[in-house]
């Protein structure tokens, strides 16, 4: 049974990796949650309140290596052949298996009555993030072994993974500086529920012709897995005291804490053109509670039990086998410790350029801001533009480029469609809709719509939805 779960986990990690790009949401000004992607966004809202647990739900799935259909299609092929061809030898160590989800618990925003150029927002959301790269050499070793692979090095650095579940308490300020510039910043307090990190592994395992014996097995390892919070969750599960209690306690500032910041701006180049950028989750978490770290460091070459006469005659009862085991343990010690460690948040960068056109909505255009200008680019019926997204990953930055078109029908309906190129897909077309029914705001977004022709063959899919109560200026 346990093995079944392990296999499911393997496939889940392998084929349902997640990405984090929210390209439809970004700079979709009519959606309140877009403020979480750029604290310096231009907003025409007077206030918003997210419906708890329904205001900001997002889930994204993607795989840069293979799809569910590649393995589970009912095509009559042997699944073992498919795994060998499409995973073991079809995927590269750079193929990532990563993911995130986002669930808002509280999200409130309001414009300052004293200074209408300021917009404040605060809230709490829960977020899970994980990434693992395809552990190719481990998989080959596990599926096929080292036999008849003389001199082939199995690279231990292929194990590269990190992940965490965290509650984020945030407070943001959005300020119109002048007619052209809006800046924003959001302070974040992270309450980590659990985290794991194993990103700097080095070493190899290789079998070579032996100097004395037939074969020499060499292991050079410098590996570390750092965890925090997992042990208490496991204990709570084992002794039946309830995982929920542990998650709640650690999520409400009873676990590891960290701080971070989001910053962003919107700058109006001219009446029709704006540029925006934001940096999100520039922060870290200090993991110091319930920490368990596991290390394997050293190097050893063994050629089996070696008995060399006449030296071995000195003590005929020597336990050569145990000496060999002890020697390897000494050369490559496996150790555990509880040392605190810092985990950096996966920092994200967004940027965009946007060209608005059509007749600007009079009610929005005519709004008189205290700074003396109009609301700038709000209220145009059409917009086209491009967006850039970069996320910091263990193997370096990961980039996505997006082109978009947005159509607004007054304040009631806004539609946005995107075309995105990234490592998951070159045919990612997304669609988002925002609907305002009086004070009720609804939005829904879906990604990689072409993949809906056969969801199982899709290497990327996502959705976001939410409900808010809003009021306009």
């Amino acid at each position: 049974m346990i093995y079944r779960y392990v296999m499911l986990l393997f496939f889940a990690y392998t084929f349902f990796g997640f990405a984090q790009n929210k390209q439809i949401m970004y700079d979709f000004k009519e959606v309140p949650q877009s403020m979480l992607l750029n604290p310096g966004i231009e907003t025409g809202l007077n206030m918003y309140v997210g419906i708890p647990l329904l205001s900001g739900i997002s889930f994204q799935a993607g795989s840069s290596g293979a799809s569910v259909n590649d393995f589970f299609a009912n095509d009559g092929l042997d699944i073992n052949d498919k795994i060998r061809e499409r995973a073991l030898y079809g995927m590269k160590p750079s193929d990532d298996l990563s993911g995130t989800y986002h669930l808002e618990i509280l999200n409130v925003g309001f414009r300052s009555k004293k200074n209408p150029d300021n917009f404040y927002s605060f809230g709490i959301y829960n977020e899970g993030d994980a990434i693992g790269y395809w552990f190719k050499d481990y998989a080959i070793l596990g599926f096929e072994g080292n036999a008849d692979r003389l001199n082939q090095r199995f690279d231990l650095s292929h194990l590269k993974t990190r992940g965490e579940m965290v509650n984020v308490f945030h407070f943001g300020i959005n300020k119109r500086v002048n007619n052209k510039l809006i800046v924003g910043a959001r302070a974040k307090l992270y309450s980590s529920i659990f985290s794991f990190k194993s990103t700097r592994n080095k070493g190899y395992f290789v079998t070579t012709p032996g100097e004395n014996n037939l074969l020499a097995s060499t292991l050079v390892a410098d590996m570390k897995l750092q965890t925090s919070g997992l042990n208490s969750i496991k204990d709570a599960n084992d002794d039946g005291t309830g995982v929920g209690g542990v998650l709640t306690k650690r999520g409400l500032l009873g676990g590891d804490l960290g701080v971070g910041v989001d910053v962003g701006f919107t700058y109006q180049l001219n009446r029709n053109t704006t540029v925006t950028a934001s940096i999100l989750d520039l922060g870290f978490i200090m993991n110091s509670t319930d920490v368990r770290n596991y290390t394997l460091k050293g190097q050893a070459t063994v050629e089996g039990v070696e008995v060399i006469l006449p030296d071995a005659l000195a003590d005929p009862s020597r336990d050569f086998w145990q000496e060999l085991v002890d020697e390897v343990d000494g050369l490559i010690p496996y150790e555990e410790n509880q040392d605190s460690y810092i985990s950096f948040r996966p920092t994200k960068l967004y940027g965009s350029i946007r060209y608005n056109f059509g007749e600007q909505n009079r009610s929005m255009r005519d709004c008189d801001c205290k700074a003396g200008g109009s609301k700038g680019s709000l209220g145009f019926p059409n917009a086209v533009g491009g967006q850039l997204y970069v996320i910091n990953r263990p193997r370096g930055p990961q980039v996505a480029l997006t082109g978009f078109y947005q159509r607004n029908f007054g304040k009631t309906v806004s539609l946005k469609t995107t075309y995105t190129v990234d490592k998951y897909s070159a045919t990612n077309i997304g669609f988002g809709a925002n609907l305002n029914l009086g004070p009720v705001n609804l939005y829904a977004m879906a990604d990689n719509l072409i993949g809906y022709k056969n969801l199982a063959a899709s290497q990327y899919a996502s959705f976001q939805l939410g409900i808010n109560v809003i009021s306009w200026r």
Binding site: N69, F72, G210, E303, G304, Q322, A456
Partner: protein, 182 residues
């Protein structure tokens, strides 16, 4: 321009209708076979010609039991599907030699015996593969092996000395195990 509110319903219904999924068979996970084959050296033995000459016992100039728990480790003994042990004997001494390898269980019982012979100052090695499991010998031999007994017998005289530099008898061995992970 005003758009009817039901537009969204229509749009998402459209997505629902156009989205589909080819037939998948997740029961294929039951057919996944993971049977890696691992190999490593297991035992190396070396002796000098001097030592052979100084032990004229006709029963053998050397015999000893060696603890060897690699095969009897729970994971290996529970999951091994096939095992091939490769033996190699090299002899640069001036006398023919016979080496006997016995696989022994916890109770000291001999489970299997392999004999290797090699001529004096042999230009070639004696190589032998012994298969356990499948079409070979019973796999339980491997599962229950917890010690090796190596015995070496001088089949020649006790006075000659090879003209080879540093004459030796060398025994090498490795094992290749197919493991049934799943």
């Amino acid at each position: 321009m005003k758009i009817p509110h039901y537009l969204f319903g229509v749009l998402f219904l459209c997505f629902s209708f156009v989205s589909c999924i080819d037939e998948q068979d997740f029961n294929q996970t039951d057919d996944i076979i993971i049977e890696p084959t691992v190999e490593a050296s297991i035992f190396y033995f070396e002796t000098t010609e001097d030592l052979i000459n100084t032990n004229p016992d006709p029963a053998g100039f050397y015999t000893n039991d060696f603890n060897f728990d690699a095969f009897s480790e729970d994971y290996i003994s529970d999951n091994v599907l096939e095992c091939t042990i490769t033996y190699q004997l090299e002899n640069t001494t001036s006398k023919p030699v016979s080496v006997i390898i016995e696989l022994i269980d916890d109770g000291g019982n001999v489970l299997d015996t392999t004999v290797l012979n090699i001529a004096a100052e042999s230009a070639t090695t004696t190589d032998l593969d012994v298969l356990y499991g499948g079409t070979g010998k019973p796999l339980d031999i491997i599962r229950n092996t917890s010690a090796l007994r190596l015995s070496a017998q001088n089949l020649g005289d006790n006075s000659s000395v090879s003209s080879n530099a540093d004459p030796k008898l060398i025994f090498r061995s490795s094992a290749k195990l197919k493991i049934g992970v799943r």
